[in-house]
């Protein structure tokens, strides 16, 4: 018997023009939680797809229980006991939990009719064993992301997976759900199921994993017991260079008040929000998912209606009924959902960069192509957007570069107040630092920067001041020099505790 339940040896996978995996190897022991980490483009996705039979490797061997296997399609990998919970869940929201679990593997009665009684019972039992007491007859769409993810895990458990691969499983979950998922992962481990846990979040790896494998540029870098690693070592292995500081914070010089809101209310979302933000500072917004942070700024930006409340810009009351009003009054809103709300993916980089200020690039009735070309070239240079040309379709750029295009779009409006909503979600460490540097630059130019973030290290690393929200209310306003400026107190406020 082999030491490993699933092993990959000397695997190379080429695509036209790129080598996605280069002599990669990884071995996963039975019943261990094995972390996999690497920057975007390091080849994690390809590795997963090779293990799950989506891609066939050009060279190398896949071994399950020490026996070499050749997966011709994903079903063969499933039959061999390798299941994967992808970042984008394969859930049909309109179908019930039972239907989703048994999709393609339904149980029939002797009469060839579906045996729903049995399937519902099994679905209920397996969900319960994963800590979810839910009615399996209800459509999946009725439940949150956490439950939907459990449905995917239930599928794997019910069909005897030996290894469950989880690709960024916490990226779409709230804090509560993350906790539950972690409990479930430990429970699976206790049952002897191995987990390959792919994540960007170092804390999660430290909390959960037994061992961790780092990859870079399609190559194996190291596999270590997590106990032998720390933050710096992991990051250094991942990016191949030492990052003395993940958060290049530059102390700002607080200037005049730029934005003040008083008693914002909207039914069911915002109870009573008042705060002020100043030029030359980064104001962090912390809180649990659902605390109403994004909703607050959507309302300020005119994207959602307000029931009551006043908004002041530079001390003067502002009337904002639609996003256009906000844009005209120099407010920029970088939404958390880049693809859905920030960019027009089918259009070139150039068009996306002028999206928020097309009127500003006119000469008479026509768009001024020369002025656009100059501005866009300037953006690409100053934000170091990696793109073959300004005419490249924006969907072809990496996540980090797309985020820089969104930033560029707002820089081009000469905005004074920048609202960043989860600005570094889903982008790699290198791009994160570049985004932080842009914030630093904006602050230095005397702009007002507001950063909504669910990642406490980011909040603590970059903010001059933090406002903590809970259930549509402001719970705390903590300056960088306050004794409360630490993770424990911020979490305490987010959970409703008094400081």
């Amino acid at each position: 018997m082999s030491e490993y339940i699933v092993e990959l040896r000397d695997t190379t996978k080429r695509f036209p023009g790129v080598v996605a995996l280069r002599g990669m190897h990884i071995g996963i022991r039975p019943g261990e939680i094995h972390g996999l980490i690497g920057e975007n483009g390091a080849g994690k996705s390809t590795l997963i797809k090779v293990l799950t039979g989506v891609h066939r490797p050009d060279e190398g061997h896949i071994l399950v229980n020490g026996q070499e296997v050749h997966f011709r399609n994903p079903n063969e990998a499933k039959d061999a006991g390798i299941a994967c919970v992808y970042q984008e869940l394969n859930i049909v929201k309109l179908l019930s939990i039972t239907d989703n679990i048994f999709i393609g593997r339904t149980i029939e009665k002797k009469s060839r009719l579906l045996d729903y009684k049995k399937m519902h019972q099994m679905a209920h039992d397996v969900m319960l064993s994963l800590g979810q007491d839910v009615d399996p007859q209800k459509p999946c769409g009725n439940f949150g992301m956490g439950v939907q993810q459990m449905v995917e895990i239930a599928k794997a458990v019910l069909f005897d997976a030996k290894l469950i691969i989880m690709d960024e499983p916490t990226s779409s979950l709230g804090e509560n759900e993350v906790g539950q998922l972690m409990d479930t992962v430990r429970e699976l481990k206790a049952r002897g199921i191995a987990i390959l846990f792919v994540s960007h979040k170092l804390e999660e790896l430290f909390e959960l994993c037994d061992r961790v494998t780092v990859m870079r540029d399609g190559e194996w870098i190291c596999t270590e017991d997590i106990a032998d690693m720390d933050n710096d070592k992991l990051i250094q292995a991942m990016v191949g260079r030492s990052l003395s500081n993940l958060f290049p914070k530059v102390q700002g010089q607080r200037g005049a008040e730029a934005l003040r809101v008083e008693h914002l209310k909207s039914a069911g979302v915002l109870r009573d929000i008042s705060f002020a933000a100043y030029r030359g500072e980064i104001l962090g917004f912390s809180g649990l998912v659902g605390a109403g942070r994004t909703e607050t700024f959507r309302a300020i930006f005119g994207a959602d209606p307000l029931d009551s409340g006043k908004i002041y810009l530079d001390g003067k009351e502002a009337r904002i009924r639609a996003p256009l009003d906000a844009v005209r009054q120099k407010v920029a809103f970088l939404t958390e959902d880049r693809k859905g709300q920030g960019l027009v993916m089918s259009q070139p980089v150039k068009t996306n960069l002028i999206l928020a200020n097309m009127r500003g690039f006119r000469k008479g009735p026509w768009l001024d192509e020369r002025q656009i070309r100059e501005a866009v070239a300037g953006n690409i240079k100053s934000l170091s957007i990696k793109t073959p040309s300004a005419d490249e379709t924006v969907s072809k750029l990496s996540g980090g570069n797309q985020q820089k295009v969104v930033i560029g779009k707002w820089v081009n409006t000469d905005a004074e107040v920048f609202i960043f909503d989860e600005p570094t979600r889903g982008i790699d460490v290198g791009a994160k630092i570049e985004v932080y540097n842009v914030m630093n630059r904006l602050v230095k130019e005397g702009k007002c920067v507001i950063m909504i973030s669910s990642e406490l290290p980011e909040i603590l690393g970059m903010s001059d001041r933090v406002i903590v929200m809970r259930e549509g209310r402001v719970m705390a306003d903590i300056g960088r020099d306050s004794v409360h400026f630490n993770a424990e107190d911020i979490m305490k406020a987010a959970w409703g505790g008094a400081l």
Binding site: P16, T351, M358, K409, T413
Partner: protein, 327 residues
């Protein structure tokens, strides 16, 4: 650098594709029948292209916004009938009559736009299907299903007159298409149409009034349908409430052949012109070859399916290349 070169070659291929199809079909008919290449016949093709081309220009714009306008054929008929009723009511001034026709198109276009942006009906496929029935029914009801004739020459001349045999209506198409080209590519509203089509929410959150842009698109579609109505009246000398029942599908076909997509965000005015010409040439050529109109229908259907197939295949290959590059 080689990357950008390869891309621009691909862009070129996608632009040349429909053009190539046009040339091939042109050559086939030239060889198949000597009558095809004759001056009079070519002028005929232009004449037959005009109406579809005008409607297609409006259709293209709503397709770019990921919408559709199924009411254009009925709007075309209703606009001419309203103009006919105005004539019967004693309006003799040609300019005024044409204005009444165009105003009808604008009004119904605005109605379509309002259904989408004010009432927030889910997809214009449904709402414009409703409008199509209303407009057709209104045309039949108001005219009592009768044909109206006796229009003054000023109204008829756009669809009727020629310069050295070259139809004025097609000249109008060329001028309008140049205007559309500049509108779509060189004005901020034009670029906004593509952006709203690609992602209406991102456009709105960037300060673009997506609702207003959409409203304008449907108004333009109605206006172009009514303008096509003026050409139609010139060619038939009558307003007929049942006219133009295939115009909507013809226009969609022209746009799709020319590279537009139901997913929105893409399509060019020149592609659309080629699509409209292709349809006219196929009809004309098969006519000359003595093929029945039933057979024409079959061939056109096949061409539409082929065009879409080529388009999705190209897109699938592009997406695949993108996926590979992203790994």
């Amino acid at each position: 650098m080689s990357n950008t070169k390869k891309l621009s070659f691909k862009d070129l291929a996608s632009k040349v594709g429909p053009c190539l199809a046009l040339i091939v079909i042109f050559l086939i008919f030239t060889v198949a029948t000597p009558k095809f290449l004759q001056y009079d016949n070519l002028m005929n093709v232009f004449k037959q292209t005009s109406i579809n081309a005008l409607i297609s220009a409006g259709m293209l714009i709503v397709l770019i916004t990921a919408g559709i306008d199924l009411s254009v054929g009925a709007v075309c008929a209703l606009s001419t009938c309203i103009m006919g009723l105005a004539l019967q009511a004693g309006v003799q001034n040609s300019a005024l009559l044409i204005l009444i026709c165009l105003a009808t198109g604008v009004l119904i276009g605005a109605f379509n736009g309002a259904l989408l942006t004010k009432l927030h009906l889910p997809h214009p496929f449904v709402s414009t299907l409703g409008t199509r029935n209303i407009a057709r029914g209104l045309a039949l009801f108001l005219t009592g299903a009768a044909t109206i004739g006796g229009f003054p020459d000023g109204v008829l001349s756009l669809g009727f007159s020629t310069i050295n045999g070259f139809p004025v209506s097609f000249l109008a198409v060329i001028i309008l298409f140049i205007c559309f080209h500049f509108f779509l590519n060189k004005t901020s509203l034009g670029r906004q149409i593509y952006c709203v089509g690609g992602n209406a929410e991102a456009a709105r959150l960037s300060g673009i009034r997506s609702d207003r842009v959409l409203l304008i698109c449907y108004i333009l579609s109605g206006l172009m349908a009514a303008l096509a109505g003026v050409v139609l009246v010139g060619r038939t000398a009558t307003a007929y409430p049942l006219a133009g029942d295939t115009y909507d599908t013809d226009a969609i076909a022209a746009c799709i052949i020319g590279g537009a997509s139901f997913m929105g965000g893409k399509g060019t005015i020149w592609g659309t012109l080629i699509g409209a010409m292709l349809i006219a040439i196929i009809r004309n050529g098969l006519n000359l070859l003595g093929a029945s109109s039933y057979l024409q229908q079959i061939v056109l259907g096949a061409v539409i399916i082929l065009a879409v197939f080529v388009d999705v295949t190209r897109e699938r290959m592009e997406a695949k290349a993108r996926r590979l590059a992203a790994v």
